[in-house]
Symmetry: C2
Subunit: 239 residues, 2 copies
């Protein structure tokens, strides 16, 4: 091929690599944000929680930087086929990563509220759910870096376990509130914290789907593990 | 300009128009989904709620169709500058519209749970909040169709009112739960319904920001009305 087109090709490869690095860095930041939010929750540490809330602005800035770079790549390199798919997926992945950051920040904000109230509450199930969500997020971010469709599918599957655990926690907290009305405010925040973790699992699943799409050009089947059983009539009646 | 480039230009304009139509149609579908979900909630109508849950699959299908078309437009027309911005914004807007559909479907699912439980609960504030969110969504969808940055900014502003109302509802429901533990399960679902409406407001705000970006090339300032005051220490201590 002519020199200049080889040059253009390699420039695009370099752009794609940079884009993947930027997203991996943003993903790593959000992984830390979530890890710190969970630590703050489980150790009642308001200082860490406050730091998480501050971190979120950096995540938003990363999102804008990645979008601007992706748009520039589209404009300058005008990729097609697989290359185009990867840039488009990158644009959408950053949206999900930013959302995950929002949910982690919300966990931290509610932790500050809970610490201020100073009440005690059950955290065992939440701690277990948080671990699953963190593993799922880590696999997702790894799958992006490695553009690994198989790893993406495993995240997609893991989300069902997270949803089931969320439903268990939902029922536990309702019971705890009924036992003693003084638990209600704290448990309500814990319910939303559990919900935030469940949503983070959903967004990790979205990212897995996008990664699978970027790597294979195929969308995963519709019957995706998704949503929240506590909102299904059966669970609702039981809870 | 040469005949063929004029031809290409007009083809792209046609593609953009079609893309805008597809998004407006998807937006209209989600507006209906939300309106029906709110009706089902306020009138305790499980039949309508069940229909909303079914509608959501159509919304997901629309999202995939729009994405596939947008990617084809990027590949075939290789737009730059403003044209490129519009296609990129379209890709991201569909993600937010799909999320709004998910939240509307969740409102419907929880309505089914509430109707099954058959308990009574206060709906006045929720009804007011739902009206605001529906207006905000309508303005957002209109802003897309008209590519109107001014309308986009108004949505961006309205979101603060929705967040404030959400905080009021949060406090009302906590009080209601404390007054009678038999209200706890129903009020918990109502809390999540209010939260879903608040999130729909956030996504309408995202769409407004994307529409503003597509129309002006500028991002709205960072200090966006966003999030949920019930998760702020002050409100939490008060609630």
């Amino acid at each position: 091929m002519p020199e200049d087109s080889k040059h253009i090709l390699s420039s695009f490869e370099a752009d794609l690599a940079r884009l993947r690095d930027m997203i991996a860095a943003m993903g790593g930041l959000v992984e830390t944000e979530l890890a710190d939010a969970v630590t703050a929750l489980l150790t009642h540490d308001s200082a860490i929680a406050a730091r998480v809330v501050e971190m979120d602005a950096k995540v938003d800035a990363d999102e804008r930087a990645i979008e601007q770079f992706a748009v520039r790549v589209l404009a300058l390199r005008q990729p097609v086929a697989d290359d185009l798919r990867q840039v488009v997926a990158a644009l959408k992945v950053t949206t999900d990563i930013e959302r995950i950051g929002d949910y982690a920040a919300n966990v931290a904000k509610r932790t500050l509220v809970l610490n201020q109230a100073g009440s005690t509450w059950p955290l065992a199930s939440l701690s277990q759910m948080a671990r699953l969500v963190q593993e799922s997020l880590k696999s997702t971010i790894d799958a992006i870096g490695e553009a690994d469709p198989v790893k993406a599918i495993s995240v997609w599957r893991a989300d069902q376990m997270i949803d089931d655990l969320y439903t268990t926690i939902f029922r536990e907290l309702i019971t705890y509130m009924m036992e003693d009305p003084r638990n209600i405010t704290a448990c309500t925040h814990l319910l939303f914290i559990a919900k935030n973790l469940e949503r983070i699992g959903d967004h990790a699943t979205n990212i897995a789907e996008l990664t699978y799409y970027a790597a294979t050009g195929q969308t995963l089947p519709d019957a995706r593990p998704k949503g929240d059983l506590s909102a299904s009539p059966g669970a609702g009646a039981a809870s």
